[in-house]
Amino acid sequence: MYLQRRARFAYFLILPAVIVIALLDVYPIIEGVIVSLQNQNQMRANPEAFVGLKHYSRALFDEQIFWYSLGRSLVWTVFAVAGGYVVALALALLLNMEIWGRGIFRALFLIPWVIPDVCTALLWKWLYGDEFGVINFLLVKSGIVSKPVLWLSDPNLAMPAVIFVQIWKLYPVMFIVLLAALQNVPKELHEAATIDGANVRQRFVYITMPFLKKTSVIITLLGCIWTFQAFDIIYLLTGGGPANATKTLPTLIYDKAFWGLEMGYAAAIAMLMLAGLLVFSIAYLLVYRTKTQAEAV
């Protein structure tokens, strides 16, 4: 009786949250599916006319831009996440030692994560500048290049340049999670291995890495989910240009929806993007579940 009342009480408590999530998260997704099946072109009459899968077939078969953008998105995601992971792991290994000032270094390494996206983007635009950018100033002064590099306006360099910014932005979260995981590696294992004559490399490969495996998979998947859908930094740094070199899916969707005013087409591309993200998300949920079960045991 008491438990039943308590369960009813629980439903009462979660009700407001459920209503808000249903209205503002679930319903918009459904509305998104509907919009993707409608004309929804602000330039034409009758925006709510049903057009079936026309937008989807246009994206998948008629135009190159979707596949091109997907390719750009994959390059952006893979390199940024891989780069972020390498930086994060290196810093986490350094700070896993018992050294003075560890807490201070840990806080300092988290700072890029705290800087608001807009500030990050504009700040890097200032750093990358060709005439007054400090990066070019230092490169020219040290004689590495003879004239300023056009980081953001050269189609071959723009993607690496924005990826670098995303690595800077992304690594702190991976770093803090990896550091926490490293601190759970039992010290006795390392000591025993040292006594048995294992060198640093062997201890890293056979003790540390197996312990980090699951955490690494989770944090990499989360990094992919975040980076794949990231919009602000690219939009503010290059706007998808030059010559579409950085036109990832989110910038393409934004352009189609709010510049081309083709809401329906943009929504269809967004749905296709969600399908891609679902692959990452399902993988994440599966790993996450096995991890929590393993912890419960």
């Binding site: 369960a7 997704i29 929806a257």
Partner: protein, 291 residues
């Protein structure tokens, strides 16, 4: 902290010399890493404190030759920046208040009460938390337009509340779980109602957690860019992120204004981060990633 590692090394002089070398190398690597990683932030601060003539000088100096706050004065007195500032403050505060109040009840329920569907509800939170904003922004734009709320702060408050609830519930759950169950059992035995127990016993104990989550929500609103970009049109309604971004067109090449503005936006966030660092790291590990 761990004496067992260090003691045997001290007995052995060759080992200790190796340990010193390792330590020197580690500190050298850390110093290089800090310099490279924090240089952009240092450069933002340094640039914003330089007079315009030095910003666009042929020969750059790492620190300002003449230190000045005139860029900050110019951006605050000469542009619409203060309006953006208060708009951001208003929208962030309102949306955070809404989402924290709604979330704390739900978080308490899934943390403390066994009921059918609590797993499904947690899963719903986890999934909605992953919805890409670029996907939500199109239908929300259509819905907001239909409701006649386009170009209002209400629209932004609604949007921000919607995407911060899943995250807030998820984080608060961990804080409620950490409160000993005996406390509320005692209150129930003393005849307190369930709601009364929550409000009078549990909520005060969860104070630090709620403060941390509130801070988090506020910062998310403070930083948010895409929804503000799409849902607002009038400059006098702009929030800081889109206001600052609009400087790029409005005041071309006025990097003095842009950098001073960026510093002002970053400062409160950085301050709260440094003060609440421990909490934030805990929340990050407990809420978003580990569960």
């Amino acid at each position: 902290m761990d004496g067992s590692m260090a003691t045997p090394k001290r007995d052995n002089p060759t080992m200790s010399r190796r340990a010193v070398i390792v330590l020197v190398v580690v500190y050298a690597l850390l110093a290089v890493a800090v310099t490279v990683i924090l240089f952009p932030v240092f450069w933002m601060a340094s640039s914003s404190l330089k007079p315009q003539s030095e910003l666009f000088a042929r020969n750059m100096t790492m620190l300002p030759v003449r230190w000045t706050l005139e860029n900050f004065r110019n951006v605050w007195e000469g542009t619409a920046f203060p309006t953006y500032f208060w708009n951001s403050f208003k929208v962030s505060a309102l949306s955070t208040a809404c989402s924290v109040i709604i979330s704390m009840y739900a978080a308490y329920a899934i943390a403390r009460i066994k009921f059918a569907g609590s797993y499904a509800f947690s899963l719903l939170l986890l999934i909605t938390q992953m919805f890409p904003h670029i996907l939500l922004v199109i239908p929300l734009f259509v819905i907001i337009q239909k409701l006649g709320l386009f170009n209002t702060h209400t629209a932004l408050v609604i949007a921000y509340t919607s995407f911060s609830i899943p995250f807030t519930v998820w984080m608060l759950r961990g804080f409620f779980e950490a409160i000993p169950a005996e406390l509320e059992e005692a209150a129930v035995i003393d005849g307190a109602s369930m709601m009364g127990t929550f409000h009078r016993i549990i909520l005060p104990l969860a104070g630090p957690g709620i403060a941390a989550v509130t801070m988090f929500g506020f910062i998310r609103g403070w930083n948010e860019f895409l929804f503000a970009l799409v849902l607002l049109q009038n400059h006098d309604l702009f929030t800081l992120p889109i206001g600052l971004a609009s400087f790029q067109e409005e005041y071309t090449f006025r990097w003095d204004l842009i950098l001073a503005g960026a510093s002002i936006i970053t400062l409160p966030v950085l301050f709260f981060f440094l003060v609440m660092q421990r909490f934030i790291v805990q929340g990050l590990l407990g809420g978003a990633v580990k569960g």
